[in-house]
Amino acid sequence: MQKITKENIQDYALKLMFKMKEEEFETFEKEFETILKHMDLISKIDGIEKVEPLVFPFKNEDVKLRKDVANSTLTTSDAVKNAHETIYDEVKVPKVVGGES
């Protein structure tokens, strides 16, 4: 099985837009090694390649969508209560440029 190297982690950190400290890379490297060992064990199970990935363990036929009714909105003061700082009820954050959609 492929080893997760520091370079791999750096690459993912960049792609996932995380800034990481040097010691965090070391921790991650070690943690991934453990995880991969487990994966290696699992991959040795007989017939494992025929098992489909499982997302939902049970098929629930009773799932209903929500009726389109608007209610129970938060008040603005509650909504921004945990914000470090607000300006005119908007949440203030360090300047960000660019973005996704």
Binding site: L16, M17, L65, A70, T73, K92, G99, E100
Partner: protein
């Protein structure tokens, strides 16, 4: 010359009462952070539940785009960190979108072109950010508004095709009644992929993200064609990258290259259990899809023999086209109904800057008005007067005609008596009558109309006058 290939990714907000995964109001509010629920802020401990109406509306557009629909509704997480996305991921669809492998016919320069749809998926909108000199502000009102993203195959080859596709898609969404799809309100946004090549293979894909108007889509395509042509002509290689459009200059600039492409680590959203999509549900939705703009236009031209121009005018706004269809269904002659709707009615709507639902006029009134003219009860000039009254008061044309005493005199004897009277009063002119001089006959018609207060049938009056005047000059 290089072959231009364009693909589009079009986002459109759906209208509904509540948001796609939370019960907060889906609507514009100028006050920030008013329409927000726990889910929109990414607070823990409360789960998203998909909105039935948003799912149905997305499926409706999917079917209108001739897409294959899924057997169940499931969502995926698109992971990335950005302040407009409080959960750290966007709930979207990738594994089983609401539609795949569809198409939309568009009309470019009189020719029908089929634009292939790769997929259409339902997702949540992000919060909106306002950028200032040293900080940014977040308003979560937009967070969680249902959004459909339509992704085309790279199959368009000019700016014109791309813009026509956008207009046609916009019209489809509006015709389906799922959104007003107004780009000026930020309801429609677009990513454009442009590549140039002089071989059969596609060139490097350059994506221009988040364009806020069709006008700017056109500018971005123009700029990219020019920029990439210059690179290729100078023997260079176009880099596969993501760019942004500067609204002010109309130029695109580098945002990120392929090597730093974000890895979104998609996986199925485990917090929303799969909901089966039944045939019954799809059939119910299918019934609500109206005949679309292009089909209507083709029908008007082939079945009703209307002109290209008139057909275009009629289908531009669905409600106007519906109104016209109803007139015809009631038995009105299509050409006459078209004249009334595109002429007087739309003229009135445009002058007053209102929509048809604001006018107390019903299709049956247009039909009745046409009948009144056809039966020569009123003249076409009088019909215009009736129309003015009708559009303001909502009274039926027959009532107006009666109230105003407009019934035309078609009885030969009654008209004859008036003609004789007029000729007696104007004996001199009658003797000088010359059939070559149309102005003279107009004078006599005018006199008859004056005496009957416009009620004499003009055609009949004219014909009888000519006969009587001929006798005078024998």
């Amino acid at each position: 010359m290089y072959k231009v290939t364009i693909g589009l990714e079009v986002h459109c907000e759906l209208e509904s009462n509540s948001k796609v995964f939370s019960p907060a109001v889906n609507g514009y509010n100028e006050n920030p952070n008013v329409n927000v629920a726990y889910q929109d802020l990414g607070f823990p401990g409360i789960l998203p539940v998909a909105n039935e109406e948003a799912v149905k509306r997305a499926l409706k557009v999917s079917m209108a785009l001739n897409c294959k629909t899924p057997d169940e509704i499931i969502f995926d997480r698109k992971n990335y960190y950005y302040p407009d996305l409080p959960k750290g991921y966007q709930i979207t669809q990738m594994t089983k979108p609401v539609g795949i492998n569809g198409y939309l016919n568009i009309e470019v320069n009189g020719e029908i072109k089929k634009v292939d749809i790769h997929d259409i998926h339902l997702e949540e909108d992000t919060a909106s950010l306002d950028h200032y000199d040293t900080y940014s502000l977040i308003d979560y009102n937009r967070s969680g508004i249902p959004l459909i993203e339509t992704v085309t195959e790279p199959c368009m080859h000019s700016k014109e095709e791309a813009l026509t596709f956008l207009e046609t898609l916009r019209s489809l969404i509006v015709y389906c009644g799922v959104s007003q799809a107004r780009s000026d309100k930020g309801q429609m946004r677009c990513d454009v992929n442009v590549s140039l090549s002089d071989t059969d293979e596609l060139g490097s894909k350059v994506e221009i993200k988040n364009i806020n108007s069709f006008y700017n889509v056109g500018r971005a395509i123009d700029f990219e064609i020019e920029r990439q042509t210059e690179i290729l002509q100078n023997g260079g290689v176009v880099e596969q990258e993501t760019r942004r459009l500067d609204d002010e200059t109309g130029e695109t600039f580098h945002m990120r290259s392929k090597v730093d492409a974000v890895d979104y680590k998609y996986f199925i959203e485990p917090n929303i259990a799969p909901t089966p999509v039944t045939c019954e549900m799809l059939n119910e939705i299918r019934k609500t899809i109206p005949m679309l703009q292009l089909e209507r236009k083709q029908m008007y031209k082939s079945k009703y023999d209307l002109s290209e121009y008139d057909s275009d005018v009629l289908v531009k706004v669905k409600e106007n086209s519906d109104f016209f269809n109803e007139c015809v269904n009631l038995g009105a002659d299509p050409k006459k109904a078209c004249n009334w709707v595109t002429g007087m009615l739309m003229g009135y709507l445009n002058t007053n800057e209102i929509t048809i639902d604001k006018v107390p006029i019903k299709p049956v009134m247009i039909k009745d008005l046409i009948d009144l003219v056809d039966s020569k009860t009123i003249s076409s000039k009088q019909a215009k007067e009736v129309f003015e009254e009708m559009v303001n008061s909502g009274k039926e044309p027959k009532v107006i005609v009666k109230e105003k005493g407009m019934m035309q005199i078609t009885d030969d004897n009654a008209i004859y008596d008036v003609i004789i009277e007029v000729l007696k009063e104007n004996e001199e002119q009658a003797k000088e009558y010359n059939p070559e001089k149309t102005r003279m006959i107009d004078f006599f018609v005018g006199q008859v109309m004056k005496k009957t207060r416009g009620k004499a049938n003009p055609a009949k009056t004219m014909q009888m006058l000519k006969e009587e005047l001929a006798k005078y000059n024998k």
